[in-house]
Amino acid sequence: MRFAGGGGKKSKAKPRDKEFEEAALPHMDALYGLALRITRNPSEAEDIVQETYLRAYRFFDRFQEGTNCRAWLFKILYHIYVNLYRKRVRSPETVRLEEVEPFLPQLSTAENPTFPNPEEGLLKKRTREEVRKALEDLPQEFRVAVILSDIEGLSYKEIAEAMGCPLGTVMSRLHRGRRLLQKMLGVEGR
């Protein structure tokens, strides 16, 4: 098989398809996981994943080799959700700051001069179901930031790109999201 030389344009198309499949298809579980956590609805999640792959295929030329393909796919998925999908849904979910803020002051332990060690093994006592539920109850934008960082291991820069927001916003979404989770999961030092 010849990929270079005289064949030029024609021989280039096939390997590119293969390259796409090899780079993108292994991330289907992760994409589905994110879509499911965003929509909380398996069939909607499937639709979004499928659309994500179609778009990724169409725009694969724009994917920069050597960068994180998974992060790029998340970006497409989130874009589809925010710009195309959420608009179709009747009541879009929004982050309600007034519900979020009151948690924050009491989480600060800075004023407590002494504190008992939290029960050893608290971590182990929380069931998967509890963690899933707590994540699910997190406001949308906090939840996506936490998933991309803690479950998917994306850098802040990658998260900022995926969510289309500044780096500082990623920082505050993560920080607030984790503190909310801390409260919901009863991970407290007092």
């Binding site: 499937e46 994943v49 504190f115 971590l123 069931t127 994540l135 960082s149 991970v187």
Partner: protein, 273 residues
């Protein structure tokens, strides 16, 4: 660094997203402040909880099938689209050859017709050929341009009659230029106008008797017009002040439009005189 500041940065610190200098200051603070250290520890615990216990979702098997099928469909669509553009590209590349072949066929056809058709038709063919030759091969014009006076002046030296090149802007026809020809042994001025639709309207002017064409005669006012469609073309011809005029454009259905054009030519020639 103050406690509140350190706690604001805890999350980023934990993720390794704080630059070196601040990182060191946070570390120093945590080392000396048990309450911040505890807050940090709790945050770390949350992160680990999520990392370890959030269930990892698996895409259902049928989703993989669906995605693969959708991708195949997209590829097929793309392949057929690229085939189509390749076909178009090839067609565009070979357009001059196609046009040349068409001209050759046309000429052959004309030769064949000459043997059997009447002299009238033969004359009509001569004009038709001149019109088509321009439409298809776009030969260089002796006097290109949209300036009617310049084209008039230039062509007058080549035809032996007082030619006037009319301005047909009212019908959105732009003068492209003109050339002198010989049709059926007669000197003819061939003026070319471009319509907005992209087709060309030819106006032939010659001295002498009316141009006899195999067309219907229509009397309107003092003028007798020969009007009609012939070989997919619209023709309008008339005689005025010892000059014969003939308009040709592609599409038999354009006879009406060409008639309006004829009236405008008469008008302009009268005006410009």
């Amino acid at each position: 660094m103050e406690c509140y500041e350190v706690q604001e940065w805890c999350s980023s610190f934990m993720d390794g997203e704080v630059e070196d200098e601040r990182r060191q200051r946070i570390r120093d603070h945590l080392d000396g402040c048990p309450s911040c250290a505890e807050a940090y520890r709790l945050l770390l615990e949350v992160k680990q909880l999520v990392r370890q216990k959030a269930p990892r979702e698996e895409a259902p098997a049928h989703l993989r099938e669906k995605v693969l099928a959708a991708l195949e469909e997209e590829k097929a669509r793309r392949r057929s689209a690229s085939r189509e553009t390749a076909f178009r590209r090839a067609l565009r590349r070979s357009l001059p050859a196609v046009a040349a072949a068409a001209v050759v066929l046309l000429l052959l056809g004309i030769v064949a017709h000459r043997l059997v058709e009447a002299p009238q038709a033969r004359l009509a063919e001569g004009f038709l050929r001149a019109h088509l030759q321009y439409e298809m091969a776009r030969p260089l014009l002796e006097e290109p341009g949209s300036d009617t006076r310049r084209v008039s002046a230039r062509l007058r030296g080549q035809v032996d009659f007082p030619l006037q090149v009319p301005d047909l802007g009212e019908l959105e026809l732009t003068l492209v230029g003109g050339r002198a020809l010989s049709v059926g042994g007669q000197k003819v001025a061939h003026l070319l106008y471009a319509a907005r639709s992209g087709h060309t309207v030819s106006l032939f002017v010659l001295a002498g008797d009316e141009i006899r064409l195999p067309l219907e005669k229509v009397q309107q006012g003092r003028t007798t017009y020969q009007v009609g469609g012939y070989k997919e073309m619209a023709f309008v011809s008339w005689r005025e002040r010892r000059l014969g005029y003939l308009l040709i454009c592609q599409g038999q259905e354009r006879v009406r439009g060409l008639m309006r054009c004829a009236l405008l030519v008469q008008n302009r020639v009268g005006l410009d005189r």
